[in-house]
Symmetry: C3
Subunit: 350 residues, 3 copies
């Protein structure tokens, strides 16, 4: 793709093209990070990047740079640049759009691989691709253009929408319902039975888990992530919510739209999460807690009680982030605090 | 099922039926939570439920309520209830029994799917169901009425008891021994090699892991959970111990009977856990620690030294729960404590 | 194997044989821990073992003991031992070598199982074993003597070196490159897409993840572990680095040689880890942090900023281990510290 062709494409995209300069209309062969880009490669500088990255735009060997429009020093710097540049309101979105153009998805062969095992009364829409050794249970429906990679197991009565991508060896249990344009990464488990046991004098009595998991449109689920179904009712992951690898979502959890959860987050049963909630890596949330819209929890925090909308929380038990930062800074001083107390005490008791 | 039929069934169960009132002997079609139940549905109120749930029994649209016998205000409230009710010593157990009646398990087809690959000298008892694309290694034995779902891989010389349920795409390594009535959820790995490497001047030397994993009767293993085999000897999960999703059990761990471990717990090698131990989500236990009978560890705690029987611990490093609650409360005050010290110090030095 | 035969083998090994005494040249049938060893079994005492283990060498029923050379009390103790003994500089390495001799790996049948599905233009070197229901994508290469167990899915254009062992139901995504002598344990996912989404006014915009994962020689990956590919460039796991179960390695992470990461470690995107870094269980590392050579992080620590080579860190946020130990000890005293402050304050304000 020529740089001039890319400019035309970006004008039609979401990144807000502001200005550009093509000194030499080269072919863009591939993309790389700002640190590693070479000739015939494209790279980008994100908004609000740290100084050490910003300096690299002076020395990069990249053939074309996607740059942010909101920074004066960038506008000065480009006067001296030898390479081609494109200025955009959101260069990271432009980079994402460029990657889509440079690396189109490999087309999966349409149709059902001869080794796939398809149950009775399965409805498969046009354009579906079902890979080798896939198993599809009875009475399941699969929407148009959905791609199911090798080794996936779909139990009975599952409803899968259109244009989903389901990666290898993941498992979708009975009764689960997926919207459109979801991505299920490899070895994820959707709709496994919730962890429900009642203590009795004869040991644990299992609470049957007869509910379902519902993934709304555009949900993405990471590799090895597990989303449990509840005893009754539904576990619901809201539209456009993105979940990273090795996350545990307990039975009966509900999340709103547009949330993001980083790897190894664990959410206990019955938790109610609002819209646009961001949970960083290894965060935990206790049973039945309510987390309001727009809450951000920093990594490793443990939320054990309700959090109001818009709060940023940290630590365990989670407290407001700003308080936690000051407490953590003082935690390091605990030995001297204890020593000071002992000395003051000694003076006072004299 | 008519309400009157359910009453007869519950009388034969474990939940301790105390009293009931059928004003209108309706058909129960399904079950739901107290918040969501509608006509022709059954729901329950657990013992010691919070007030906001207890109030719902006045307004629920459910056709029949399972209620606890131990609370006076319930006995008053039922005088005014328009719906049918059943009072029990343990309504949660009654609800579990009701779900079993309302939603019987779907019967798997007995027999071996034509795409399953069965090794040499495999012994398969009557009533076993082996799903599509399953692989069973040589010299493995599978007990009566065990169900193996599609995509499961069982290595060699595995001994699987009767009435186990092994979910899709889980893996059971050579030499593992499962008792009766175990459940292995999807994508779990039983008997993978322990993480044992000895440092040498030429890098890591692998310690061969030639031991086995033993799951006693009624053990349940969550989706994506991994249970490692040791270098020598056995990793043992005690009878009726229930393990949630994405838990790591290291090589040579032993657990007693009736334990419960929530999601993302991690137990390092050689840990010795007693009976009826409860570990909440994301708890970690260090190498070779001993945890006594009946210990409870709250979420995210990290146990790095032995814990005596009956203790409730929290935090990292884990300390008695009551101490930890007070310490955590004071952690939030660290900035003011540090400030107070500085001020007192200034006054005293004047 | 006779004890005398073992002595000859160990002389050729890496464990540094110092001395031995064979009073009765028995056959060694198997190996066990020092606590459990019986007649015709071999066991070992590691260097610097705790006293309770050292005492066991007086009473063990093992037929032969591997003992450390560096401890005077051992040299005294062996005078009184009735069993046979071998003294070595590193008895743990000797035990590993002994296990290799006593329990040789089971040979996998060479060749491609008839149920495996092999794509177009796949290059398979001599001596490769491909198990039942394996799927190998187009244009993939598999090096000599590599063993691929049942149910594994390898996508397109993957390059797998020689003598790798890839366990059941693991998944290797397109473009991944594995060196020689790697081990991929069951249900691991190599090269899944990195978690990259850019916020826009219309929700999350996916950053295409077109990079690759590279595993150098002798890398071992635990069961259920996930290693993500980046948007551009590579995620690289250095030679001889060993990773335990359920670990998350984010997109664009680089690790050096000879690292070890225990179970449930989580490493966020772009982290740069040096050589010989040791991360204990449930450690987390934040985005783009640099961790120097030889760093050790104790369990559950959270590294949120760069750590210089050679440091030992603990806690969250991670601080030097020695400081953390003192702070943690004082954390328990927080209630009395707060009380002391209140009392001193009262006195002073009088």
């Amino acid at each position: 793709m020529l740089i001039s062709e890319l400019v035309e494409k970006l004008k039609q995209g979401q990144s807000g093209l502001v200005d550009f300069k093509i000194k030499n209309d080269l072919i863009i062969l591939s993309a790389a990070s700002l640190e590693k880009a070479q000739n015939n490669q494209i790279t980008y500088l994100d908004k609000n990047s740290p100084l050490n990255l910003r300096k690299l735009i002076q020395t990069t060997k990249a053939s074309v740079l996607l740059l942010p429009s909101n920074e004066n020093n960038i506008l000065e710097a480009i006067q001296k640049l030898s390479c081609n540049w494109i200025i955009l309101k959101d260069p990271k979105i432009a980079f994402a759009e460029t990657l889509e153009l440079l690396y189109p998805s490999e087309i999966e062969k349409e149709g059902i691989h001869k080794t796939a095992v398809i149950g009775e009364n399965v409805k498969i829409a046009p354009g579906v691709s079902i890979g080798a050794n896939v198993y599809i249970g009875d009475n399941t429906e699969i929407g148009a253009e959905t791609i199911i990679h090798p080794g996936v197991v779909v139990y009975r009565k599952v409803n899968i929408g259109a244009r989903n991508i389901i990666h290898a060896n993941s498992v979708i249990h009975s009764g689960s319902r997926l919207g459109d344009e979801c991505v299920i990464n490899a070895n994820a488990v959707i709709g496994g039975e919730g962890f429900g046991f009642v203590p009795t004098s004869n040991g644990w009595k299992k609470m049957p888990q007869v509910g379902q998991v519902v993934l709304k449109n555009k949900v993405e689920i990471g590799s090895g992530t597990t989303i449990d179904r509840p005893s009754v009712g539904e576990t619901i992951i809201g539209e456009d919510t993105k979940i990273d690898n090795l996350v545990q979502i307990g039975h009966g959890v509900t999340t709103g739209k547009g949330c993001a959860m980083a790897a190894q987050v664990g959410i206990a049963g019955g938790v109610d999460i609002g819209n646009s909630v961001i949970l960083a890596g290894q965060v935990g949330i206790s049973n039945k807690v309510k987390v309001g819209d727009g809450v951000v929890a920093s990594s490793k925090s443990g939320i054990i009680s309700n959090v109001d909308a818009g709060k940023v929380v940290s630590g365990f038990p989670a407290i407001p982030n700003k308080v936690w930062l000051r407490c953590s800074a003082n935690f390091k001083k605990l030995p001297e605090i204890a020593k000071a107390i002992r000395e003051l005490d000694r003076k006072n008791s004299r």
